[in-house]
């Protein structure tokens, strides 16, 4: 589609490709590998697009893409259906509301924001699981997953950098 002599960004590039990469990374890290008795960590790769898509720009397609990604996580990991879809949408909504405060901040500060949003998502997942299963998940296990997920910020930063100014309609 041509508009004002520029070129609009194809949703497949900033939504489809990161989604696919998240699916591949999730399947890779689910491999039953144990080295010296230690298993691979299980980060929530979908937190990267949940944070970055809301930072790049508001979109109609992004929430549904996150919902699909969340449903995939639930089914692939064998968890309750809708748990991660809802948790990721909480993260997306939070960033969407606070994006004016986040935009233009330094990289360490953005990392702190990413960790904060991840923490809120994990707490949301904790609460939804409590309501669904009527049992309390292990706080230590939740903390470990939060820690390894918070380390994924460089990928979110790269995604934001790559597509923040890519669409001529939003310049």
């Amino acid at each position: 589609m041509s508009m004002s002599g520029g070129r609009a960004l194809n949703p497949g590039r900033w939504l489809g490709v990161p989604m696919l990469l998240c699916v591949v990374a999730t399947i890779l890290f689910a491999a039953p590998i144990r080295i010296w008795g230690l298993q691979l960590p299980e980060p929530v790769f979908a937190m990267v697009p949940a944070f970055a898509w809301a930072m790049i720009r508001p979109s109609i397609l992004a929430p549904f893409a996150l919902l699909i990604l969340g449903l995939f996580l639930d089914i692939f990991w064998g968890g309750p259906t809708g748990l991660w879809g809802l948790s990721l949408l909480v993260a997306y909504a939070m960033v969407l509301i606070l994006r004016n405060a986040m935009t233009g901040q330094s990289r360490p500060m953005m990392w702190a924001w990413f960790a904060g949003v991840t923490a809120v998502t994990m707490v949301a997942g904790f609460l939804f699981t409590m309501l669904d299963s009527l049992a309390m998940p292990s706080l230590l296990a939740v903390f470990w997953q939060f820690l390894v997920t918070a380390l994924l910020f460089p990928f979110a930063h790269r995604l934001v950098d790559r597509f923040e100014d890519a669409d001529v309609r939003f310049r």
Binding site: S59, P137, A141, Q145
Partner: protein, 354 residues
């Protein structure tokens, strides 16, 4: 007429608002999914066609991804065994000498056990068939702990079958498709397994919470458990057979009793799935479905213990009356064992409990 040329063509909705509406719609759909989910019931119907389809697709993909890791592990084992052969040989010799003593003791106990069984006429459980499967995918998060195994309905696996590795119980099957099955681990938050403390026979429910060491809940009795006690399945409720090894009891940092799982001490590559559904399969179904039923005798209502005792019959009474209709006087009902009466003089009433 194209939309842009119509009266609404100039209408411009702020993108943030449309995104917010999309977000709310997506959230409503997610909530509906979560409310409709019946995973925690662990029933066959709760595992939908979508999950089965994803499992079938994920099996070859995850299997291909897991293969290099498995090969690397095998290679490392080979290199390690090459460099540490001498020390391993010494260790194995010591272990073998110790095991020989245990073997002799086990054989003696087995012999004694067989004799006791035959003396008591004890009916033991028949061996349960099992299917071996390789784990191709493993989820370890706080909200879901499951494994995908590459054996399914074609091997007779059904929902509810317990899964073990060489050390102990791993979990139970919650979803089956052709060629693949999903095992819910003991550590999953939805997992509840009836167990007992081997030393005291105290019952408890092993409850997963997403961490590595599931909790022991509803533990009853006075001083029922100690640090290091062996925990095995109790078989209560017919979910899993009795006596499968589970783990060792430890006191957690939160003051609750937890279990260090034996299954975690070994490789997670292979699991054995017991084709055990419930205790009904342990009975001989042919005997249960026998057409000829054993004779059933019922109490004569006229001689009920609640009714008024009838007077003793006269010696001239006709012999055609049933013995149960002629209750003997108390003296005749309890003959001395040293003086048994002849069978012809006092025929035993047929149909009365012996």
């Amino acid at each position: 007429m194209p939309f842009r040329e119509g009266p609404l063509g100039d209408l411009k909705v702020p993108l943030t608002w449309t995104a917010a509406v999309a977000l709310i719609v997506a959230a409503v759909i997610a909530v509906a999914f979560l409310l409709a989910d019946r995973r925690e019931t662990l029933q066959e119907q709760a595992y939908g066609v979508t999950r089965q389809t994803v499992d079938v697709v994920a099996k070859p993909v995850s299997g291909a991804i897991a293969a290099p890791g498995r090969w690397t592990g095998l290679g490392l084992d080979f290199v390690r065994s090459y460099f540490f052969t001498a020390s391993e040989n010494r260790r194995l010799k010591t272990e073998l000498a110790e095991m020989r003593q245990w073997r002799d003791r086990a054989l003696a106990l087995q012999d004694q056990n067989e004799r006791f069984k035959s003396l008591m006429g004890l009916r033991t459980d028949p061996p349960i068939p099992m299917a071996t499967a390789r784990v191709v995918s493993d989820s370890r998060g706080p909200f879901a702990n499951t494994r995908l195994a590459d054996a399914g309905s074609e091997k007779g696996i059904v929902v509810g079958n317990p899964a073990l590795n060489e050390r102990g119980l791993v979990g139970r099957v919650v979803g089956v498709s052709n060629g693949v099955s999903r095992v819910l681990l003991l550590t999953d938050i939805a997992s509840r397994t009836p167990v007992m403390i081997d030393r005291t026979n105290a019952r408890a429910i092993l409850t997963g919470d997403g961490g590595p060491n599931p909790k022991l809940e509803y533990l009853r009795g006075v001083d029922p458990i100690q640090q290091g006690d062996r925990v095995v399945t109790s078989g209560d409720g017919g979910v899993v057979p009795r006596g499968l090894p589970v783990g060792a009891a430890v006191k957690g940092l939160d003051g609750r009793w937890r279990v260090v799982l034996f299954a975690d001490q070994s490789s997670i590559d292979f699991i054995r799935i017991l084709l055990f559904k419930d205790f009904a399969q342990l009975a001989n179904e042919k005997e249960l479905q026998a057409k000829t039923l054993p004779p059933v005798t019922t109490e004569d209502p006229q001689t009920s213990i609640l009714s008024v005792p009838t007077p003793a019959p006269t010696p001239a009474a006709p012999a055609t009356t049933t013995p149960s209709a002629q209750p003997k006087p108390p003296t005749a009902a309890a003959p001395k064992p040293a003086q048994p009466k002849p069978a012809a003089a006092a025929p035993a009433p047929t149909g009365t409990p012996q």
